[in-house]
C-alpha cells in the first residue's frame, strides 16, 4: 500500500470518527462543531489524494474556514452549550430509523463494486485550478453567473432575517 493510500484510509477513519462525534455528541455543541472541522480537513486531504487539488483548498477555505466559523460563532454567541436531548422521549423510532439507515447502507455498499465506472487515466494537471477554472468559466458559465444571484439572495435573506431593525 502506497503512502497516499495509507493517508486515504487514515483520513477516512478520522472523517468517520469525527462525523460520528459530531452527531452523537450530546453535550457540547462547540465540540461537535470542532469535530466537524476535523471532518472537513480530513476530507480535504482525501481530495488531494484523489487529485482534486483546487477543490481541496476550497474545501478548507470555505467549509473549514468560513462555514464552520459561522457555526461556531452562532453556537458560542447564542450560548448553545447543551442539547435539550431528553432520553425519556421515545427514542425507539429513532433507533429503528437509524437501524434501517444502516441496513440500507449495508445493502448499498454490498452491491456497490459492480456498479462503478472504470477508472480512467488522467492528465498531469488534473484537478489544478487551471483545468477546473477553465471548465468553470467557459463550459459552466451559466451556473457561475447564477451563483452570484444565489449569493445575493443569501445576503438579502440573511439581513432580512437577522438584522434587528430594518430602516
Amino acid at each position: 500500500m502506497s503512502f497516499a493510500a495509507g493517508l486515504f484510509y487514515v483520513m477516512a477513519a478520522l472523517a468517520v470518527v469525527t462525523a460520528l462525534g459530531m452527531v452523537l455528541n450530546l453535550r457540547n455543541t462547540v465540540a461537535g462543531a470542532m469535530c466537524l472541522v476535523v471532518t472537513m480537513i480530513s476530507l480535504a486531504v482525501i481530495y488531494v489524494v484523489l487529485d482534486a487539488h483546487f477543490v481541496a483548498v476550497l474545501q478548507i477555505m470555505v467549509y473549514a474556514g468560513a462555514i464552520l466559523v459561522l457555526f461556531l460563532f452562532v453556537v458560542m454567541l447564542l450560548n448553545l452549550r447543551s442539547d435539550a436531548f431528553t432520553p425519556s422521549r421515545a427514542t425507539a423510532p429513532k433507533v429503528v430509523g437509524a437501524a434501517v439507515g444502516v441496513a440500507v447502507l449495508a445493502a448499498f455498499l454490498a452491491k456497490l463494486p459492480d456498479a462503478l465506472p472504470k477508472v480512467a487515466e488522467i492528465p498531469a494537471d488534473f484537478g489544478s485550478y487551471r483545468q477546473v477554472g477553465l471548465a468553470l468559466y467557459r463550459d459552466y458559465v451559466v451556473p457561475f453567473e447564477v451563483a452570484s444571484f444565489l449569493l445575493l439572495a443569501a445576503v438579502v435573506g440573511a439581513v432580512v432575517l437577522a438584522k434587528r431593525r430594518l430602516s
Partner: protein, 385 residues
Amino acid sequence: MDLWTVVRALFIILVVVAAFAPVITWVERKQSAVMQDRIGANRADIGGITVLGLLHPLADVLKLITKEDFVPAGANRFLHALAPIIAAIPAIIGFAVIPYGATYQFPGHEPFTLVGADLDWGLLYIFAIGSLATYGSVLAGWASNSNWGMLGSLRASAQMISYEVTMGLSVVGVFMVYQTLELTDMAVAQDSTFHLFGFLETFGLVKTLPGWLSFAQLPFWGVFVQPLAFVMFLTCIMAENKRPPFDAPEGESEIVAGYFMEYSGMRFGLFYMSEFIEIVVIAGLLTALFFGGWSIPYLSKDELIAGMTPVMGVGLATALTMVAHVATFLLKVVIMIWLQMQIRWTLPRFRYDQIMDLCWKIILPLSLVNIFVTGAVILLVKGAP
C-alpha cells in the same frame, strides 16, 4: 520525499521560527525605545554580557516555560489547552509555500526549487491556513470563561474574517498580471523588467521608443504594476495579524488583553510567538508578491549565471547565484519587517468601527475597482487572445 525536502523545510523553520521571530521581539522593543527616546531592553545578561539586550528573547522563553500551567475556573480545560496550539500551527506552517530562492540546476543533478512546498495554488494555501487561524482566537476567548476574553475573541474573529475577504480580493490584480497562483512562478515572473513608457508603443503613439525613454525600466515587481493592491494587501494582512494599529481585539485600555487574557506561561507564549512568526510570514509574502521575491533587480537569474559561468564554471556560478538570491530575499524580508514595525509604532490604534469600515466600505469596493481596471488595461495593452 527525499532528504532535500526535509532540509528545505528545516531551513524555513530555523530561519523563521528559531532565528527571525525571537530577534523581532527584541527589534520591537528596541525600535519602540528608539522612537520613544528610551534605551530599551538591555538588562538580561549571562555573566554580565548583555549583547544589546539580545538575550531578552531567551529570558522570555525561560520565564514563560517555567511559569505555572494555569487554567482559570470555569474554563473548558481541553479547548483552553488546544487554542494556543491551533493559533501557533498556522503561523508556523505559513512560510511553507513562500519561495526563498529560484529553481537551480547543478550539472548532473535534478533541478530543485528553494521553497518548502511548491504547490500550484500556493497563495490560496496562505488564505486557507489564514482562515483556519481564526479558530485559535475564537476558541481561546470562549474557552476561558471571561468577559474580556469573550469580547476580545468576538472582535478578533469578526475582524479576521472581514479582512480575509478583502485580503483575497485585493491581490486578485496581482494574479491577473502574473497569471498564476503559484508563488514560485510569481517570483520568476518578477525577475524581469518592463519599459515604463512601453504603453506608448502599444497604443501606437510612437513607432518605436526613443532610446532615452526605453532606458526607463523598472523591475517587473508587483509593487510597481499593482501599487494599489500593495497598499490594500499590506493593510489587510496587518489587520489579519491583529497587531497595532489594528489591535482592537486585544486593546489593553478597554478589554485588558482580549482573547488570550486568561492565558499565562507557554500557553500565552504560543499566542505571543505566533504573532511574531506571522510578522515574518507577512514579510515573506509581501516580498514574494510585490518585491520580486529572491530576484535581484535589473539582474535576472539567467544573466547572473551566464555572466559568472565563464569565470568559474556552471556549478560554482549557480551556487553563488543561489546564495545571492537567498541573501537578497532575506534582506527584503528584513526591510518588510522594518516597515511593519515602523507602522506599528507610528500609528495609534484605530477604533473598532473604523477598522470594520475600512474593510467593508473602503478596501472591498476599491479592490473590486482595482480588479476591473487592471483587467481592462491588461486586455487593452496585451490584446485579448
